[in-house]
């Protein structure tokens, strides 16, 4: 096991990704201490992730997190899907960003590459409405059938609830249900 010091690998991922795909293919490339950032188009996402995972000098084999940022309505492209990878072997991380427009909120599913992405992508669909295309068994993760909308989008009203059962009106005033008492 090689431990890489805090700054030794800065820019490492950016450098190798550029060498492999060409600088023009990367929408964004930033070198940070132990966590480089690489942005790509959707069409290159699977190739890039497979490269980061399999390249011997990168070994970013662990998907730490997969999440989404909603820039809000009118912000184009509206969504940024974020993949955070780590190399347990070499001791550094990378962040891969993919921008997704609102009218075509689809990303290729990375679950075939990283099984850990399974529930993250179900959450991505459930809460942000970004569709992971090719997911092996896409279902809701957290919400329930009948829920309309995607609550982590910025235009979902903060206090809007969609209860499944009617609530007892004036709950404090209502007496407990009066089934016959006295079997004590």
């Amino acid at each position: 096991v090689t431990f890489v010091g805090p700054d030794v690998r800065t820019g490492h991922v950016v450098q190798l990704a550029r060498a492999r795909f060409g600088g023009a293919a990367l929408a964004r490339a930033e070198a940070h201490a132990r966590e480089d950032v690489v942005g790509v188009g959707r069409e290159l996402l699977l190739d890039l992730l497979a490269f980061l995972r399999d390249d011997r000098d990168l070994s970013l084999g662990l998907l730490l997190d997969l999440t989404c940022v909603d820039g809000g309505e009118g912000h184009e492209p509206r969504f940024t899907v974020v993949y955070r990878l780590k190399s347990p072997r070499l001791g550094y991380r990378a962040r891969v960003l993919v921008q997704v427009p609102e009218h075509d909120a689809v990303v290729p599913s990375v679950t075939p590459l990283f099984p850990a992405a399974d529930w993250y992508e179900r959450e991505l669909w459930d809460l942000f409405g970004v569709y992971p295309d090719g997911h092996p068994h896409l279902r809701r993760l957290l919400l329930y059938p009948g829920f309309i909308g995607h609550p982590l989008r910025r235009d979902y009203p903060a206090g809007k609830a969609q209860p499944l059962v009617p609530t007892r009106s004036s709950a404090m005033a209502a007496p407990a249900p009066s089934i016959e008492e006295g079997d004590g």
Partner: protein, 99 residues
Amino acid sequence: VGAGLPRQADLLIVIGDVTHKAAPVLQRLHARMADPSYVLWVRTQEAGAPRPALYPTAADVTALVPVDVTLEGDPPSPAAALDALARLRQRVRAREERA
């Protein structure tokens, strides 16, 4: 004595928030309890603090099941917990006297 079934239980303790997804389950569970039954809600918040309405959770458990006693505090103090039990005993006694 452990109660194996909701039907045999006397007290339902609800701790914290209930999600909208779980609300039907909670109501079904409560409906199965034989009368007389009681509900203690551990409202994990200071007394009087407003509970924000959010997309996943029901803001108020009293709107789902008839709550007899609410225990407040974040977290509830031991004194508040004892007080809640005392209030629960009062409820039980009042109900037995009525019967």
